[in-house]
Structure formats: C-alpha cells, structure tokens
C-alpha cells in the first residue's frame, strides 16, 4: 500500500518506562517505538495499563523509571501543554470535552497554541486580532467539513449523541495539527456503521495529513485491519510487539486473552 511505503523514522521512543500508583504497578519496563506516519495499535485486556501508557506519552503522568524521547530528544518532565506544543495530540476514553461550549468553540480551543495576539488586542477586537480569529476559523471549518459535523457546529456538545461527541473530540485533537495523534478507544460504544465511519476518518487523517497514530482499541477486527504494528500489554508488561499477523500468532497473547492462568 502507498501508505505503508511512506512510513519513516522513529518518532517516539519509550525505553524501560515504569509507572506506579501508590503501590500498584501500572506499567513495568515498557519499551517500544512509534515510526513517522505509521498506525500503531496498543491492545490488551482491561487494566493492562493501556491508558496509563498513553498518559505517559503525552505528559499527564511522569514515568517513575525509564525515558521517553520524542523526535530524538529525551524529555525529563514533560507537561501536557509542552506535549501539545511539540505536536502530540490525544483524545480521551471518557470524552473530556468542554461541556459548556459549542462544537465550534471546542474545536477552536485546539487552536489556542497558535493564536498570538495579546489581551488588549483581543479586548478591542481590532485588526490583527480579528484577522487571526477568521484565519483559524477557516481551518477549523475545514476540520468540521472533514468530520461531517457542519450541522452541529453551534450546538452545545453536551446535547449531542455519543458518536458525534467522539467526532468532536477527534476534531479538537486534529485542530492542533499534530504529528503524533493518540487515540484512546476511539470506537468504544459505537455500532458497526459508526465504527466504519471512524475507521475511515482515522485512515484519512493518516493519509492526508501524514499523522502518526497510536490507538488503543478492543475491536480486533479494526486493529488487524488498519494498524501497521501492534503492541500487546498485560498486567502492565509488554507481551507482544510486531505486525498484526505476528501478534495474532503469539502464544503469550493468546493466553492473555483467553485467560490462561499465569
């Protein structure tokens, strides 16, 4: 596939990362990498530490041990807004949308980093401030078109059905124009049609914008279909890493999912 051909160098490198919460080992000695332009899936049973891993990558948690390097640079303590500035965006399993704002405003918040004009200029809404707002509005409208949610742009996000809210979450992440997009269970709670739509969006994002995508997903069909490589976690440890076919044949992975005692 033409998409596979464009996969580039190492974008993100996680080395021997560990994460502990007051006695509970969420992640133990995790190492893997993410290449430019690829789609990487993270799978594993519930409680395996997948969301924690994503939180680690984008700076919500700091690793107790190990390092995370992005674009070749090791980051000691990365805050989420630093991650955003470097081009890492993410969506949330529990839809962390801004309930008090409309769809348009939610996605516009994704452009905050790129807006420069100061307090006074914004208060007076003159020249540069007004122009900047329009410019970013155009880009956000492009995202809204892409996600086919034009009809809902002025509605408060809280009033939308779950599937549409997930799209807004994706739209907000896309507004950052990210180089690396972290998706936390983007298809949870969706029916077949919605899943197909979401798959299409994810593939389009990867093809059109060249964004590398890391996604946590439970639907094995989706994972095997769209991902280039897969990481498998179980009880906080990595038990598999490779192409979908390799992972599917891995005995440890099979045991973890079928629940063989270990």
């Amino acid at each position: 596939m033409s998409r596979r051909a464009s996969i580039g160098d190492v974008l993100l490198q996680v080395e021997h990362a560990s994460l502990t919460f007051g006695g509970v080992n969420a992640l133990v000695d995790i190492s893997f990498d993410v290449l430019e332009h690829e789609i990487r899936a993270i799978i594993g049973p519930n409680g395996a530490g997948k969301s924690s891993l994503l939180n680690l990558i984008n700076g919500v948690y700091a690793p107790g041990a190990g390092t995370i390097s992005y674009l070749g640079q090791v980051h000691e303590r990365m805050h989420p807004h630093d991650a955003a500035r470097m081009g890492i965006a993410r969506t949330f399993q529990s839809l962390a949308l801004f309930k008090g704002m409309s769809v348009l405003d939610n996605i516009m918040t994704g452009r905050t980093l790129r807006m420069r004009c100061g307090l006074l200029a914004q208060a007076l809404h003159i020249g540069p401030a007004a122009r900047e707002e329009i410019e970013h509005r155009k880009l956000v409208e492009g995202i809204i078109d892409f996600l086919e949610i034009q009809a809902y742009r002025r509605q408060p996000v809280g009033s939308l059905p779950y599937g549409l809210q997930k799209r807004v979450d994706l739209g907000r992440a896309l507004a950052l124009e990210p180089r690396l997009l972290l998706l936390d269970e983007p298809m949870a709670g969706m029916n077949l049609e919605e899943k197909q739509d979401m798959c299409r969006f994810i593939l389009d994002v990867n093809e059109e914008f060249g964004t590398a995508i890391v996604l946590i997903e439970h639907d094995m069909g989706v994972v095997m279909d769209i991902s280039d490589r897969v990481v498998v976690l179980d009880y906080g440890r990595k038990i598999g890493d490779g192409t979908p076919d390799q992972v599917r044949a891995n005995q440890q992975v099979i045991n973890a999912y079928l629940g063989v005692a270990h």
Partner: protein
C-alpha cells in the same frame, strides 16, 4: 413574528462571528445605548440616579469582573471586595498626592494596581482548587482589610480610618452633579462591557472556559494553566479595582474600610449567581436585583400597611436573599440570564407555541 431571523444570511465569517448576529438585537442595543445616553439624563430624577442607577452600573462592573473569574474561568473567589478596596484606596491616594493626574488615568492606575495584586493572590490557584481556593481568596480579603485599616499611610493618617474624596476632575470637566456622574459611569460601563464581551469570545475566553470545564483536557490541548488562571485573575481584579474606585469616588464619596469587607464580596458573588454565571447580561441582571431588592423591601411593607423596624427589614432582606440563592440554584442554576434566554427563544417563534 417580530423576532425572526428570516432572510438574515451570513456570507462571511466575520458576519457570522459578530457580537449581535440577529439584526433585531442590533437595533435594540443601539436604541438602548442611545436612550441611556440621551433620554435617561433628561427623564430620571436625581434621586433615582444617585440611589438606583449609579450603584447599579458600578456594581455591574464588579459583577462582570467576578463573572470572568468564577463564571468563565471557574475559579471561586470570595475576595473581590478586597480588590475593589485596592482600587478605591489607590485612587484616593493618587488624587490626594498627585492631584495633577486626570481621573481617567487614576482609574486606569487603580485598575492596574488591583490587577497586579490580583495576580499575586491568584498564584495559589495553580496548586489549590475548588473550595480550598475559596478559602485562600478569603485570606486575600482579610489581609487587605487589615492593610487598609491599620497601615496609616493608606488612609493618609486619618484617625477614624475613614477617608473622603474630592470632586472628580476629568478632561477639564468637574464631575459633580448626579447627571455628570451618571454619564461618566455609563461611559465606563459601555467600554468595559464591550471589552469583556470581546475577551470572552476570543481564544483567551475559550482558554478560560476550557480551564473551567476540564482543566486536564485544557492542558492537553496546549492551554497553559498558569496563563489562563492568572489572566483571569488579572482581568477580574482590574474590573474590581475600577469598580472600587468608582464606588468610592462617585457613589460613596467617603468610606471606612468596612465598605470593602467580606459582605461586599459575598454580595458580588450573589449578584453573579442570581444573574447567571458565565453570562454578560446576567451580570447586569444580578446587579439590578441586588440594588432593587432592598428598595422594594423598604417600600412594600409600608405600602401594605405593615410596620417593620429597620433591623427587622435587614433581617427580612437576609432571609429573602438567602432563600432566593437556594431557590435559584435549585431551579435555575444558570440564573436570570437563562430565563432571559428562554424568553428570547419563545419570542423567536411567537406567536406559534413551538
């Protein structure tokens, strides 16, 4: 029928994003502003101006300021009156010690100093959240109370702790008559309301609302919590400072430190709760409510024939106030502004029921 948007299509983003997209709203606003500047000075009595309209306008400024902090940015503050006090005392000291300064400059400096102090006391908000922050802001309130009551320099060594002001000199115009005072305050209100509306619609306003709704998610999309929260504190305190200076100079004339105590802070908070958190027009409603209620309570018992002592009236006021707070929070947590919005919605489809 009257309020429909039929035929009002927007063909540019700037048209879509303007402050009042519906043409009828624009006409109404122009009419309102025009009548405020032209008709009210001619028709309103001096008493109405002094006792009702001027305090209403000044309190609106304070309410907008606190609304920005609490309603838009989600940081609970119980110390707004302290910052009003900063504005008032800075203005007093400036007019006393640097009398050449034009009052507009004094206002700006009062607001600016209140903003600086606000940023200082806002720094804890980065570590402390929710009701812990509310208590931290009380620390600001009580500390500022003490500073103004005890440090003699601020009150120009007044023995009783109270200060009184000279008439306002602005752009060569002495602001003495109630009408002059009204026009000055009206002008400031119009400017500051416009600025606030622009700010809340800009990316800064969105950053505030994002911080309020879910600060972890806000950080993830690149909003720096420091910038968002401190800018909210700064702007809010600026408004409080200007309101305080106006309150002291235009409305009170002379005051003791208790004028900017914790009860004033609570009053401003109630204004925005009842008016509607996160709503510009709600700040106006809340301020109007706070000014009108005591007046009603004063007049109505007399009109109905019940005679109440002043103490009893103030107790009744407390009871009704407290009761209304709870009622509003239970029935319509978004305050009078939401009722107004619902009313407008009904008007849009009138005379059809739905």
């Amino acid at each position: 029928m009257l309020y429909r948007e039929n035929g009002q299509f927007k063909t540019t983003y700037s048209a879509d994003q303007q402050l009042m997209p519906i043409a009828q709203d624009r006409w109404l606003m122009i009419a309102l502003v025009a009548s405020s500047f032209l008709a009210v000075p001619l028709l309103a009595s001096d008493y109405a101006l002094r006792a009702l309209i001027i305090p209403f306008l000044i309190l609106t400024i304070a309410a907008i300021g606190l609304n920005i902090l609490v309603g838009y940015c989600g940081q609970i503050s119980l110390g707004s009156a302290g910052f009003m006090g900063v504005g008032a005392y800075v203005a007093f000291n400036l007019t006393l010690r640097v009398p050449q300064l034009d009052f507009l400059v004094v206002l700006l400096l009062s607001g600016g100093s209140a903003a600086l102090i606000g940023i200082g006391f806002g720094i804890p908000s980065l570590r402390i959240k929710g009701l812990y922050l509310a208590v931290a802001t009380l620390a600001a309130q009580f500390f500022l109370d003490w500073v103004f009551a005890r440090i003699r320099w601020f009150t120009a060594d007044s023995s009783s702790g109270s200060v009184s002001t000279n008439p306002i000199e602005m752009l060569g115009w002495t602001v003495e008559r109630p009408v002059d005072k009204y026009l000055l305050v009206l002008g400031v209100v119009c400017l500051l309301t416009l600025a606030a509306k622009n700010l809340t619609r800009s990316y800064i306003g969105r950053a505030w609302m994002a911080t309020r709704d879910m600060d972890v998610a806000a950080e993830v999309i690149g909003v720096r919590p420091l910038t968002a929260k401190l800018s909210a504190f700064a702007v809010s305190s600026f408004y409080a400072g200007v309101a305080g200076a106006l309150w002291g100079f235009v409305y009170l004339g002379s005051w003791e430190p208790a004028a900017f105590g914790v009860s004033m802070s609570l009053n401003v908070l109630f204004m925005i709760i009842i008016g509607g958190l996160g709503s510009m027009v709600g700040s106006f409603f809340g301020a109007a409510f706070l000014v009108v209620l005591p007046l009603l309570l004063n007049q109505i018992p007399g009109m109905v024939g019940i005679d109440l002592s002043t103490a009893m009236k103030s107790h009744m006021e407390s009871m009704i106030f407290g009761g209304l707070i709870v009622l509003f929070l239970a029935i319509e947590p978004h305050g009078l502004a939401r009722l107004w919005a619902i009313g407008k919605e009904k008007l849009r489809i009138w005379p059809f029921p739905h």
